[in-house]
């Protein structure tokens, strides 16, 4: 359940930003979570609902934007789509892949009052 630790980090970032902007409440939080990241979105939602209570974001809605995975294929010498870690290159079948996108976990923006 590292999602709990991640949700706490999200709340810290969100509340610090909200306070800096003199917000009275946070309406929504947008996260960008890569499909190759080690996060289970549903577990993160559950954890977020737990940690948001009693703070500026207690009524905040969580929006998770999933970003697609991509990798650099050394055989093809180009970037290819990667649905899951451990999958082969969809065009040449090689596993000589270097993940180049889709493992990010970011707080994108918040909507505040």
């Amino acid at each position: 359940m590292h999602e709990m630790a991640l949700a706490e980090s999200v709340i810290q970032i969100v509340e610090a930003t909200a306070r800096r902007n003199a917000a009275v409440a946070v309406r929504a939080v947008w996260l960008e979570i890569g499909r190759l990241s080690h996060v289970e979105p549903e577990a993160l939602r559950f954890a977020f609902d737990v940690v948001k209570r009693n703070g500026l974001a207690h009524g905040a809605r969580l929006e998770i934007v999933a970003t697609d995975g991509a990798a650099w294929c050394m055989k093809c010498s180009r970037t290819v789509a990667l649905a899951r870690l451990g999958d082969a290159c969809p065009s040449c079948g090689s596993y000589q892949l270097q993940v180049s996108a889709g493992d990010e976990m970011r707080v994108k923006e918040i909507e505040i009052d």
């Binding site: 590292h2 509340e15 737990v50 209570r53 451990g86 270097q98 970011r106 994108k108 923006e109 909507e111």
Partner: protein
């Protein structure tokens, strides 16, 4: 972690300074139940609190012991226990979000943040990494499932490096100091970090443990993470390498089941290979699985108990120590050069002032 309000993520605690305290057995944890929330002053009873934190007490005779406290608001106020009276440096891991309700109305606005969720941990890990580099310490983050033989492997590693390198160990477990006790039995310095309900070590815990352990320059720091192939993957501790230990009594497809961990590890130690004749485990298939998620991963087959492959593993560690020392020597040279340059400038300025 309080599932009502989310305050506190567990009762993480770091052992007290046991090196001096162990002689008379004066390191002890006192679980306390407090009938009040830690942050006083907000209305009582509106939600349940559970605060995990450690109070460290330094007594006149130099004995240090820590008290994990559990607070539960469910009992109501009026406990009268002045835990702040101790006035010692507390270790708090996982403070919950601040409860601040500000009334008023204003227009909704969008604020761009674009910040990594693990940014704070990554920054603390970078601090740790810089400290290790300054002292030429080779830090390894050992990760695996529970029961893969990490602690036995560590004990044998310490024995194998004895007389050449000092090995200092941070032991991460949810509870007990059994593993640190096993390490200390070898004569090495070890510190237990109990993560309480936490499922991984983070950079903050390691930074605090390192402060207490003070590994000497040129030493090896082995960080035995909580036995868990999922959560520790994302938390950089400032190590030079993650090393994943997989034993042949586990499934050979584990690298595919837990790809994050194998993707982030530089080396896979395939442990308990002495048991291969007795188990169904295809080494080639396992290595292939690991390379599917991490084409660059190195694999060393070892048996910590029988000694097979240990020489290769120890050679890998020695290479790491050599690289850490070389980098440190370089930075020391660079600093000396910079110092000489600055001294020259100061001398020039002084002569101009005097002239």
């Amino acid at each position: 972690m309080c599932t009502t309000c989310g305050c506190g993520k567990g009762e993480a605690r770091i052992e007290g300074a046991h090196e001096d305290a162990h002689a008379d057995g004066t390191v002890h944890g006192h679980p306390h139940d407090h009938a009040a929330p830690h942050a006083h002053g907000h209305g009582s009873g509106h939600h349940d609190h559970q605060h995990g934190h450690v109070h460290e007490h330094r007594h006149a005779e130099g004995v240090v012991h820590s008290h994990p406290h559990d607070h539960s608001d469910a009992h109501g106020h009026g406990h009268g226990h002045g835990h702040h009276d101790h006035g010692h440096d507390d270790l708090h891991f996982g403070r919950g979000p601040a409860g601040a309700h500000a009334p008023g109305l204003s227009q909704a606005r969008i604020v761009q943040i674009e910040q990594d969720i693990l940014g704070k941990n990554d920054a603390l890990a970078a601090d740790n990494r810089r400290r290790f580099a300054e002292r030429g310490i080779f830090a390894v983050n050992l990760v695996s499932s529970p029961g893969s033989g990490k602690t036995t492997l560590l004990v044998r590693t310490i024995e194998g490096l004895k007389g050449r390198y000092e090995v200092v160990v941070i032991e991460g477990d949810q509870e007990t100091s059994h593993d640190a006790d096993r390490i200390r039995a070898t004569g090495s310095k070890a510190l237990q970090v109990n993560t309480g309900k936490g499922c991984h070590l983070d950079a903050d815990m390691v930074g605090k443990a390192v402060e207490r352990l003070a590994p000497p320059a040129g030493s090896v720091l082995m960080i035995e993470n909580v036995g868990n192939l999922v959560c520790p993957a994302g938390f950089d501790l400032g190590e030079a390498h993650k090393v994943v230990v997989l034993s042949v009594t586990e499934g050979e497809d584990k690298p595919l089941k837990y790809p994050d961990m194998f993707r982030r590890s530089s080396l896979m130690l395939l442990n308990k290979v002495d048991l291969l004749p007795h188990v169904e485990f295809d080494v080639a298939k396992c290595v292939e699985s690991a390379r599917r998620v991490n084409p660059a991963i190195r694999v060393i087959e070892v048996s910590a108990t029988k000694g097979q492959g240990m020489a290769d593993w120890l050679a890998w560690v020695e290479q790491g120590v050599a690289a850490a020392s070389a980098a440190r020597t370089e930075s020391v040279h660079a600093l000396r050069a910079r110092l000489a340059e600055l001294e020259e400038q100061v001398a020039a300025l002084k002569s101009r002032l005097c002239g």
